[in-house]
């Protein structure tokens, strides 16, 4: 047997492959983990085990959620999609392990490679993805309904226990459940508001930079004005004058945060419009709209993505601040800012009320900042080592 080394090796190969498939079918991610690919392996394994745990531990809740409200159905949908994605990805990954081919490398592939070498940034990204998954799954995961009040005589301000891992608040509501439901609000507002502001900022910045002249002057003077004004004062002025609601606060945040993006995009476009490909596009007789949308904006997207990622973190802090002042999300809807405010007057007796929602904000924003920094390094070829 020792003489036939070649066949031994081949057999060995097939053995791992078959074993890998079997492993992957039971525990997706484990073959990748054993192969030393920690990031993707643990992500797939955690997704699989975590989601499966929900099905096993809370079958009745999953069953009732199927015919429940839209957010419950969304949670079940997330569950199914998450489980099948983890399983299918691992299966195909194991099957395709020996057929890796690389032909060419695009700019974006280079950026992805640079980004995935940055461990803290990848960790931040995993946390963010995990947060969004948990936010979607909240109705299935949260131990209690966020508005459910326990025994007001005996269960108010109870510190951490098995029944309430993070204690209870002034209405004997479970802090952990409210924290999980609050994540939905923060992440949703952050994402939607930044989408609005990035869209407006990119368009106006590109228009100002490409057209120049009076249009540029008017847009950029307006940008100067908004930027030189303390943002919070502007926000509370607008919000306090209307009835605060989630829609209003999202709209107002989205409509006041775009000037920063506009400035960045304008700067990029100013240098891009002198380049040959834009001259070629002009010479070919393309319309200004087409040049802006198809040629300028895609090339200015790098810094915009970085600004958007950092912007989500900022927006979450701003939203929490407005809610803390009572001008954001209104009770009884749980939000991290209002939860911090709820604990403000009972700091000494119930320190956990303000502490945990604040920590949730810090770690969420920290993750966005880590990813933003990582993206900045990855997308800027000058910073790439």
């Amino acid at each position: 047997m020792s003489s036939d080394v070649g066949s031994l090796v081949v057999e060995h190969h097939q053995g791992t492959s078959r074993g890998g498939r079997l492993l992957s079918a039971i525990l997706p991610g484990l073959p990748q983990l054993l192969a030393g690919r920690w990031g993707v392996g643990s992500a797939a394994l955690l997704t699989w085990v975590g989601l499966l745990w929900i099905v096993v531990a809370r079958p009745s809740r999953v069953a009732s959620a199927l015919g429940g409200a839209w957010d419950e159905q969304l949670a079940v949908g997330t569950l199914v999609v998450g489980l099948s994605t983890a399983w299918l990805w691992s299966w195909r990954d194991v099957a395709a392990a020996h057929e890796v081919k690389r032909v060419g490398v695009s700019v974006w592939e280079l950026a992805v490679r640079a980004f995935s070498k940055n461990r803290t940034a990848v960790a931040g990204l995993l946390v963010i993805v995990g947060l969004y998954v948990i936010a979607l799954l909240t109705p299935l995961v949260a131990p209690y309904d966020p508005a459910f009040q326990g025994d007001l005589l005996r269960e108010r301000y109870v510190s951490a226990s098995a029944a309430h891992p993070l204690g209870t608040d002034q209405f004997a509501r479970d802090v952990l459940s409210r924290l999980l439901y609050g994540a939905r609000i923060s992440l949703l507002i952050g994402f939607v508001a930044v989408s609005i502001s990035v869209t407006i900022g990119t368009l106006l910045g590109a228009i100002a930079g490409f057209l120049g002249g009076i249009v540029d002057g008017v847009i950029m003077r307006f940008v100067d004005m908004v930027i030189s004004f303390p943002r919070l004062v502007l926000l509370i002025t607008i919000i306090a004058l209307f009835e605060p609601s989630i829609f209003l606060i999202t709209a107002v945040l989205g409509l006041t945060l775009w000037p920063g993006t506009a400035r960045i995009v304008r700067g990029e476009v100013l240098s891009l419009r002198e380049r040959e490909f834009v001259q070629a596009a002009t010479a070919l007789g393309f319309s200004k709209t087409r040049i802006i949308l198809r040629h300028l904006i895609p090339n200015a997207l790098g810094p915009v993505i970085v600004a958007a990622t950092l912007g989500i973190g900022n927006t979450i802090v701003l939203e929490a601040g407005l809610s803390f002042l009572g001008l954001g999300v209104q009770p009884p809807t749980p939000s991290w800012g209002t939860m911090v405010a709820d604990g403000r007057n009972v700091l000494l007796n119930a320190w956990w009320l303000s502490t945990f929602p604040g920590l949730a904000i810090v770690f969420t924003v920290l993750s966005f900042n880590l990813v933003g920094d990582g993206l900045r390094d990855a997308l800027d070829p000058r910073l790439r080592s």
């Binding site: 004005m225 502007l234 911090v340 403000r344 904000i361 920290l366």
Partner: protein, 328 residues
Amino acid sequence: MTKYLARRLLGAIPLVIGIATIVFFAVNLAPGDPTLRFLAPGMNQEVIEQMRANFGLDQPMHIRYVKWLGAMLTGDFGYSFSHSRPVLAVLRDFVPNTLVLSAVALVVAFVLGVLLGTIQAVRQYSKVDSGLSVVLLFFYSMPSFWLALMLILTLSLFARNVWELPIWFPASGMVSTDYEFLSFGAQLRDRFMHLVLPTLSLALVLTAGIARYMRGSMLEVIRQDYIRTAHAKGLSERVVVFKHALRNALIPIITLVGLYIPVLFSGTVFIEYVFAWPGMGRTIYEAILTRDYPLVMAGSFFFAAMVVVANLIADVLYAIVDPRIRYE
């Protein structure tokens, strides 16, 4: 230089008026009426109309705008509905407190930030560098109002009641209730103790940002030839870093002053609210809630003007410290 200054000052005027205009229309177009707070059930409609006329609210908006702008340019900010005093008197009471708080916070933030950034740059890629990076990013991601609450929780409440430490800091106000009966030295100490927690909450978030810039700026400077020369002359590390490198590394940091002033003022709203600090941030927040239009507009105008002035100072400082920059 004088020409440049004059042009910048002239350029700042439309900026300030523009901001004032935005605030005026945001406040006045919104639904709601400041006279509502004075209404009692069963009040005569004529009385309400009279009250609206007294406040000048019966006139069309464009007339009010022109009148308001004209009055403001002559230094008349109107009459505060909620304080029942001229707006100028209200500003005179609260503006100095905000300026003290933000000036001290700005100085603390810059000293700490420059120091930490320098340490990180000199010890690049060391454990100190990466450790400080993590800690600073943590503070950078922190909402200032939560930091304020955590400082109150640990350095005030727990320090006093649970851990029974000899030193704890007061959690609200500018002075103690028995301030007037204290000796001069004790009064100074009392003011200082009240300033510590608000300043820290405002400053630490900024410190993190400043240190990040300072690290980058310092890294660029210490790679230059003249620093190598200084090392070659046999100067000690401390002299090279703090006498030769620091000055040049500080130049880009000056622009941060202009950038961070709006952030700082936004922060004062939270910090003054949490610490019951009698300043402009809290006053404007309360004025907005009570629809005290003249005070809201004057307060916003004050903040905007301060930002413009700070930007101007930053630009001028920039020109003074860096002879390579010439403005024409």
